[in-house]
């Protein structure tokens, strides 16, 4: 059994500008939701999103926001790991749902300056970090954990000593518009696993981790270990998840990590707040954990960060690592009436709970039934 040290973390989200601030706000139950900043509010029913508030002025959207958030998260992670901002020869794997498609929209419709080279993130990362082995993996909402799977495979095969795994997404107007078209009564907030959940609300953010083949004493923080990542595809439906496929991905992750359900102390759920996702995820968890379903604490970040799509998997993983370090698990907020399919779950609701966490499972599932599940272990 192999395990790979996480030696640096970085993140930006609506609830904070770095992992410490994000974790503190999550534990305090603070939400990043706000009224619409990047789009014309007159065109939509929905008026709330979990945006990163970094535009020059309300309604003045600019190109390149996703690349900028990504570079910020990667820069943080490198500094945290004690590494220089020089990524020549170091694989950088970026999971994303929507790439720089928001910039594409601004170019096509509004005449903004943009070109094909900036559709993927390699161009910006070459400019900022000299990176020449960059990979934009557009795997919807499971993208960054899918990237993590590929990253640890590179370490396992001894193809490199260091790998950077990141995730990023800013909200596109096309995806927001399609969501608005479908959500005639848009949710005012995202309520994972609640009986009265009404759907997802999108969020923005970026997350990054530095992984090494071996930990180097004195160089960078040691957050914990990635023990294994399972990835698969439901091959079932373009938008509806399949509990069977999700359960297979969880079992795959456990097998690769060499752990059993009863070993897991914390599950960071995907929990998008859509009726279909949360029911399928809960059904799969109940299936895999069986009589041990009331063992692990269950929490998630999206009630306060929104659904950050490609960034969400690694963001949840960073929160799990912080929870291990601080022995405190942030709550799912707004979970007033847990859905019946979560019967027996030890959900963290209302406020953060103190808890020792040694092993955590992190879930991420995406459009098209693409599933990725990671298992991480505390540094101790």
């Amino acid at each position: 059994m192999s395990r790979w040290p996480v030696t640096g973390v970085g993140a930006v989200a609506s609830v904070g500008d770095d992992p410490d601030e994000i974790f503190r706000n999550l534990c305090d139950g603070r939400s990043g939701i706000g009224t619409l900043r990047g789009f014309n509010r007159d065109w939509y029913n929905a008026d709330h999103l979990y945006e990163v508030d970094n535009r020059a002025s309300r309604g003045a959207d600019t190109v390149g926001r996703a690349s900028a958030l990504l570079a910020e998260a990667i820069g943080q992670a490198l500094r945290d790991a004690g590494l220089p901002e020089d990524l020549r020869g170091i694989p950088v794997l970026i999971g994303t749902g929507l790439r720089e498609l928001r910039s594409l929209e601004l170019w096509w419709r509004d005449g903004a300056d943009f070109d094909a080279a900036r559709m993927h993130f390699g161009t910006a990362l070459r400019e900022r970090f000299g990176a020449d082995d960059t990979h934009t993996i557009s795997n919807a909402c499971s993208a960054s954990l899918y990237a993590l799977a590929l990253g640890i495979d590179l370490l396992e095969c001894q193809e490199c000593d260091t790998v950077v795994v990141a995730g990023v997404d800013v909200i596109t107007e096309s995806m927001f518009g399609l969501s608005d078209r479908l959500q005639l009564d848009p949710p005012d907030r995202l309520r994972p696993f609640d009986r009265d959940r009404k759907g997802t609300v999108m969020g923005e953010g970026a997350s990054a981790v530095v992984l090494r083949r071996t930990p180097e004493p004195g160089q960078g923080a040691m957050y914990g270990w990635v023990r294994g990542v399972g990835v698969n595809c439901d091959a079932f439906h373009a938008t509806a998840p399949d509990p069977g496929g999700i359960a297979l991905a969880i079992r795959e992750a456990h097998t690769r990590a060499g752990v059993k359900p009863e070993d897991v102390d914390l599950v960071m759920v995907h929990g998008t707040g859509t009726p279909l996702n949360d029911a399928a995820e809960a059904t799969a968890l109940a299936d895999v954990y069986g009589q041990h379903i009331s063992g692990p604490l269950m929490s998630g970040v999206k009630s306060m960060t929104g659904h950050t799509s490609g960034a969400s998997g690694v963001l949840s993983l960073i929160v799990a690592l912080k929870a291990m370090r601080e022995q405190r698990v942030p709550p799912i907020t707004g979970l007033d009436h847990p859905a019946p399919e979560t019967d027996g779950f030890r959900l963290v609701r209302g406020e953060a709970v103190p808890a020792p966490v040694r092993l955590a499972q992190v879930d991420a599932f995406g459009f098209g039934g693409i599933n990725a599940v990671a298992v991480v272990e505390a540094a101790k």
Binding site: W43, L104, R109, L150, D234, F367, I370
Partner: protein, 316 residues
């Protein structure tokens, strides 16, 4: 561990077999008609890139002996899908925001576009159509995407995440892509290969048509050829260039090394190029060519150059 190429699929005007990629290519004016190749069923509401991918994947899976009248011949969990495309869904994204602005509301857009707004729709559609339940990857990585996809397929198989992988590159031709790339025309086609673990191929008696060798990624074409050549200074038996004759002056190449330039033949090939080069290498070996064959995608002005060595398979 070296994976084998055990199948090829091509959905391009003017090409029927991998061997056709080596000679003078007469690009016919007729666009690929997915409905004529695989029937209309399942094509409704699919964007052009996904339609092209579907008919190309069909050919590759059949060619590899993995799919036939009785469906899949192996467990779908053993097959990964890796698709490379940079522009597959830009038409959907741009037309949706255009409609919203014209209407001043989202009420006029079609909910059927929702899956197409996510770039991974092509890869997941292939999985759903054929029941391919292994890892599913969508690579949107610029000029190197096709060869990057081959690298990740190799990596997934080496890590025992799948026994085999359908690797496919596809780009659609439309006004938005042409304006974005500055190209007069875009390939409007797809190329696919099936990569397989040698033991898995041997178990079902599938012959290898090429062997996947070393892959490298560098900041430019010259360095990429140097690294592919390795300390042994291996001279390729043939090579596929990244376009605009870049790399021709490399000291790695012998004076008579055959050069096959597929870049630009169909216009802007983008993510299709790397997979197409692998298909070309299969054609080279089928015609009795020796190895190794080098394939390069991504020119000096791109973010990076990806290179792959393909080796001649052992005679069966």
């Amino acid at each position: 561990m070296s994976t084998l190429v055990t199948g090829v699929g091509l959905a391009l005007p003017g090409v029927r077999s991998p061997e056709d990629l080596l000679g003078r290519i007469e690009v016919s004016g007729d666009a690929v008609d997915p409905a004529a190749r695989i029937g209309k069923k399942g094509l409704k509401y699919k964007d052009r890139a996904t339609q092209l991918a579907l008919c190309c994947a069909d050919e590759a899976l059949r060619d590899a002996g993995l799919f036939g009248a009785d469906g899949l011949s192996v467990d779908g969990e053993t097959i990964a899908v890796i698709v490379a495309s940079n522009y597959g869904n830009v038409d959907t994204v741009c037309s949706v925001v255009e409609t919203i602005a014209a209407d001043g509301a989202a009420s006029g857009i079609s909910p059927m576009d929702t899956p197409n707004a996510s770039s991974n729709v092509i890869a997941s559609t292939l999985a759903i159509k054929y029941g391919l339940r292994g890892p599913n990857l969508m690579i949107c990585n610029g000029a190197t995407s096709g060869l990057d996809a081959v690298r990740w397929a190799n990596s997934l198989i080496a890590a025992h995440r799948a026994d085999r992988a359908l690797v496919l590159g596809v780009e659609p031709d439309n006004e938005i892509v042409r304006r974005l790339t500055g190209a007069d025309h875009v390939i409007d086609g797809a190329a696919a290969i099936v990569l397989e673990h040698p033991a898995a191929a041997a178990e079902r008696g599938a012959p290898g048509r090429a062997v996947v060798g070393a892959s490298v990624r560098t900041a430019g074409v010259r360095d990429c050829l140097e690294r592919l050549s390795g300390p042994e200074r291996t001279v390729p038996a043939a090579w596929f260039g990244p376009g605009a004759d870049e790399g021709l002056d490399s000291a790695v190449l012998g004076p008579g090394t055959p050069h096959h330039e597929l870049a630009g033949v169909w216009g802007e090939e983008s993510a299709v190029l790397g997979v197409l080069q692998c298909a070309g290498a299969v054609g080279w070996f089928a015609g009795g060519g020796a190895g190794p064959v080098f394939a390069l995608a991504g020119r000096d002005h791109d973010d990076a150059t990806a290179g792959l060595a393909l080796l001649r398979p052992e005679p069966v």
